[in-house]
């Protein structure tokens, strides 16, 4: 077993792109939840955040694609095209890699549906877009289950910190709105 990075170029590139994809998806989901929470009321802020949210999502999709493509060149894992494209068929950790592939497809479908929202209807698109949280969950499960760096302290710290923020914002988003105050003198 050598430790020269040149011997593992594809594998290292796949890991690096996977980590970047995770970071970009997390940032995109966090930003989307923050926008939904309407914490900032300044005019035009939602347009700015929306543009950033879109860019992060697109960059995340590209990173996911690079993650899969570079894995094809890895001579140790050699998953093959079918192993990268068809969920649960890879020899290495088939369940967790399969969940990652499903998450990738879901990210592509939900992310790119933004450009079809006029065709499919804004309301339907908005409902479907709420399922993006599943992409985040699948990516985290995939990272923890199949990621080489899953045991690293820095990655665990990242996952715990961002996971807590995502969970908090998601619960705040899905919690029922408080009932409006009853007018004085009103009887139930």
């Amino acid at each position: 077993v050598t430790t020269h990075p040149a011997d593992y170029g594809w594998w290292l590139a796949s890991r690096a792109s996977g980590l970047v994809a995770l970071a970009l998806i997390t940032a995109s989901v966090l930003l989307g939840l923050l926008m939904a929470a309407r914490l900032w009321r300044r005019p035009g802020i939602n347009r700015t955040l929306g543009g950033l949210h879109e860019h992060l999502a697109l960059a995340g999709l590209i990173a996911i694609a690079v993650h899969g493509i570079t894995l094809l060149g890895d001579r140790w894992l050699h998953p093959g095209v079918s192993g990268v494209l068809i969920p649960f068929t890879m020899g290495y950790q088939p369940v967790f890699t399969g969940l990652g592939i499903v998450g990738g497809y879901l990210a592509a479908a939900l992310g790119l549906s933004f450009y079809l929202r006029r065709r499919i209807g804004a309301q339907l698109w908005r409902k479907a877009h709420r399922a993006t949280i599943a992409v985040y969950v699948l990516s985290v499960v995939h990272t923890v289950g199949a990621g080489t760096d899953a045991g690293s302290l820095w990655l665990r710290g990242f996952l715990v910190a961002t996971g807590a923020a995502v969970l908090f914002l998601f619960l705040a988003r899905t919690a029922p709105a408080p009932a409006p105050p009853q007018p004085k003198g009103a009887t139930p």
């Binding site: 077993v1 020269h4 690096a16 970047v20 590209i62 990173a63 690293s152």
Partner: protein, 96 residues
């Protein structure tokens, strides 16, 4: 997009450095978990055997049977074979 590319290059560099330093979670761990040669427990057994020989004069090896030279008579005593006293068993002490 430029930030994402920079993040990718940074992550790639860090992972390569980690691998080069032998601290990669997969490759480094594979080296660390290589089974070490098993320690062979060498047990030395010191065996001390003390054989105490009885003095030659006091212990007749074999007594010749006593026979009478006269004609054999029916009353002649049967040859008496004197059995040599058994040599004392060697004292064996063992220590390990």
């Amino acid at each position: 997009m430029a930030v994402a590319t920079a993040a990718f290059l940074l992550a790639l560099t860090l992972l390569a450095w980690q691998l080069r330093a032998g601290r990669d979670p997969a490759i480094g761990m594979a080296k660390a978990t290589t089974p070490a040669p098993q320690r062979v427990l060498v047990r030395r057994i010191h065996r001390k055997v003390i054989v105490v020989d009885p003095p030659a004069a006091t212990a007749p090896a074999t007594a010749a049977p006593a026979r009478t030279t006269s004609a054999p008579a029916r009353t002649a005593p049967a040859p008496v074979a004197v059995a040599a006293p058994a040599a004392p068993a060697p004292v064996v002490t063992r220590s390990s």
